[in-house]
């Protein structure tokens, strides 16, 4: 449960036992070939793995001589990487004899992924979601409703979306025998950071094979980092290989001088949501509300493995502003016809900056955590705002 000085299980006593039970069940599950086979079959037959590694010849040519590639979790069932996690959690829940899943969701994507896998395995699903998040993600909410997911609305006008996770955890504390807890965040109490990273490591394992087959020799692997679940799954396989520079890209919001979501870049270590890791907090230790146009990056803290990687210097963490991410998403659409999420747009934006600095025969692989359909309205609004700004001052 520790990553150097990070990680741990900082929870109310009521949760210690349930978490230990999950930890014990997890240890047994990953030692059980039958369980791993079930998991692999779900990934293969239901989720559509492997997701492809896509070369972007046009965009690469436009920006220099190196080659840009994308690892495409947008093509995973549900349009994003969380289906992998949902599959694993649902299998764990069945293994542990639980009747339902409980988790939280900021965008509705993880909620829908849990609902889908829950239905497939005969489990009910309960999702805590902030009222504001529900308003700004109508598609995700609709999807959950049609799946029969029970949505518990969390009203938290002051404290922002981080409260949904707290409420889900709190609920679980009183119903640990009926529910399996499914945090969307990697910044969660042990065993969740190691468990989710393991179940998501398929992404990196697949990518490594594809990279070798494609005769691609990456200098950089770039991935978006909110709480860092996707990036942990993508990076883990490459972390021991010192020749590839790993880059985690966080949300700088409207700039690091204002409100943002750059927990590693601009936060400091602290305990929140059950783990000791980098955290957005004021000098009194009060948690700051994260801010990024990308809901998936709008997280106050990061999974503990990222904190360790940051201190070790193994992964380089940077922050990219909303508008850079929007522009990267638009550029990818225009040059390559691919619509990725704003979260992924952050990683892409940084890769687009790196690209001109590289030489022929060098490669960058960007991890795409999800598809961008849910960002279409935001993209449209951004384009309108940019246009207004260009034609003389923001109206």
């Amino acid at each position: 449960g520790r990553y150097g000085r990070f990680g741990g299980r900082f929870v109310a006593e009521a949760l210690w036992g349930p978490l230990q039970e999950v930890a014990d069940a997890y240890e047994l599950a990953v030692a059980d070939p039958q369980f791993l086979k079930q998991f692999d079959e779900l990934l293969d037959r239901r989720l559509g793995r492997p997701t492809p590694l896509t070369p972007l010849p046009r965009l690469s040519e436009k920006l220099g001589r190196a080659r840009l590639w994308l690892k495409r979790e947008d093509l995973c069932q549900g349009g994003n990487f969380t289906a992998n996690l949902a599959a694993a959690y649902a299998l764990m829940a069945v293994r542990m004899g639980r009747k339902a899943l409980v988790g939280e969701s900021a965008t509705g994507e993880f909620g829908a992924a849990l609902g889908a896998m829950g239905n497939a395995l005969g489990l009910k699903t309960l999702i805590f979601m902030g009222r504001e998040d529900q308003d700004s993600e109508p598609m995700g909410v609709r999807r959950m409703k049609e799946l029969g997911v029970k949505i518990e609305t969390v009203d938290a006008p002051i404290r922002g979306r981080k409260i949904a996770q707290s409420e889900a955890l709190r609920f679980w504390g009183t119903h640990p025998d009926d529910y399996f807890y499914c945090p969307s965040s990697l910044a969660a109490p042990d065993p969740y950071p190691r468990m989710s990273a393991f179940f998501l490591s398929t992404i990196g394992v697949e990518a490594r094979v594809q990279i070798e087959r494609a005769d691609c020799t990456p200098e950089y692997l770039v991935a978006p980092v909110g709480s860092g679940g996707f990036a942990a799954g993508f990076f883990a396989e490459f972390a021991p290989n010192e020749t590839i520079q790993l880059v985690g890209v966080q949300g700088a919001g409207e700039g690091l001088s204002g409100r943002h979501a750059a927990s590693v870049v601009n936060g400091r270590p602290g305990v929140f949501q059950g783990t000791y890791s980098f955290l957005l907090q004021d000098e009194d230790g009060q948690i700051l509300a994260p801010a990024s146009a990308a809901a998936g990056l709008s997280v106050a803290n990061v999974g503990p493995q990222h904190a360790q990687w940051a201190e070790q210097g193994r992964v380089h963490y940077v922050a990219v502003e909303d508008r850079e991410a929007y522009k990267a998403v638009q550029m990818l659409l225009k040059e390559e016809g691919l619509l990725v999420s704003l979260e992924s747009g952050h990683a892409l934006a940084y890769a687009l900056k790196l690209l001109p600095t590289l030489d022929e025969g060098q490669d960058i692989v960007v991890g795409i955590s999800g598809a961008g359909e849910r960002d279409l309205a935001r993209l449209e609004a951004f384009r309108a705002a940019e246009k207004a700004a260009e034609s003389g001052g923001r109206a």
Binding site: A14, W16, G17, F171, T174, V271, L279, D284, G285
Partner: protein, 263 residues
Amino acid sequence: MNSRLSRVIEQAKITQRPIFMAALVAADPYLDATLDYMKVLADEGADLIELILPFSDPTYHGAVIQRASARALREEVGWDEIVTLGQRFRETHQTPVILSTYYNRVLSRGVTPFIASLCAADFDGALVTDLPFDESEKLRAALSEANLVLPPFIAPTTSLERFKHIAQGCDSFLVWTGHTGGDPTMTAQQFEQRMREFKAVSSRPILGSMKVADAERARMVSRHCDGVLVGSAMVWLIEGRGSQTTDTLAAFVRDLRAGMDAE
């Protein structure tokens, strides 16, 4: 454990009288009011006071204390003011005060300065809601050196074996949280049964924090353990109750005390 606190615990043991711990959120609605309320608690029969230091994300507290924390946060109370509060309370009262918070506020302050502040305020210990026993060794040791306690929590999900382990490391008393901000998950019978099991393996006092909101329930809970921690009900009384708050609070504490002592 300092003598102030050990006296309360010893006294309770000797008199067989339940320990009454009452909680308040510091600076809800403002710091001077908190001082008044603390005095009321002490005067009307509380044996211990839990002074809750507001935190932005009181994950494991219920809605009442979450709202109170949000109100208190707006007062932007600093450590110096908390210290002063403690000192001013001590000018007139000897009731032990346990400063209660979440772990990040301790870490952010730094363990050494945190303990220094507790000492300066003449507090008697700390409660850290999200610091389970297994993660608390270092802080407990540091507090102990300053004669301060870190009472551990136990819960319905705490196994008997785990209870033994926690009770062994306990430096003062244990706090049983029958809920986690949610509803109690046990029947009265289950609770009684569990307490019997626990009492059989440890003599450390157990205070039940179980949504006690009236004298009847206070009596019922304290019958099976060594005392009661009343939080939400106390804080709810204070929430927007206008100028009569002090009187209402006094009456409520008196009533609870009487309920506990009835047997």
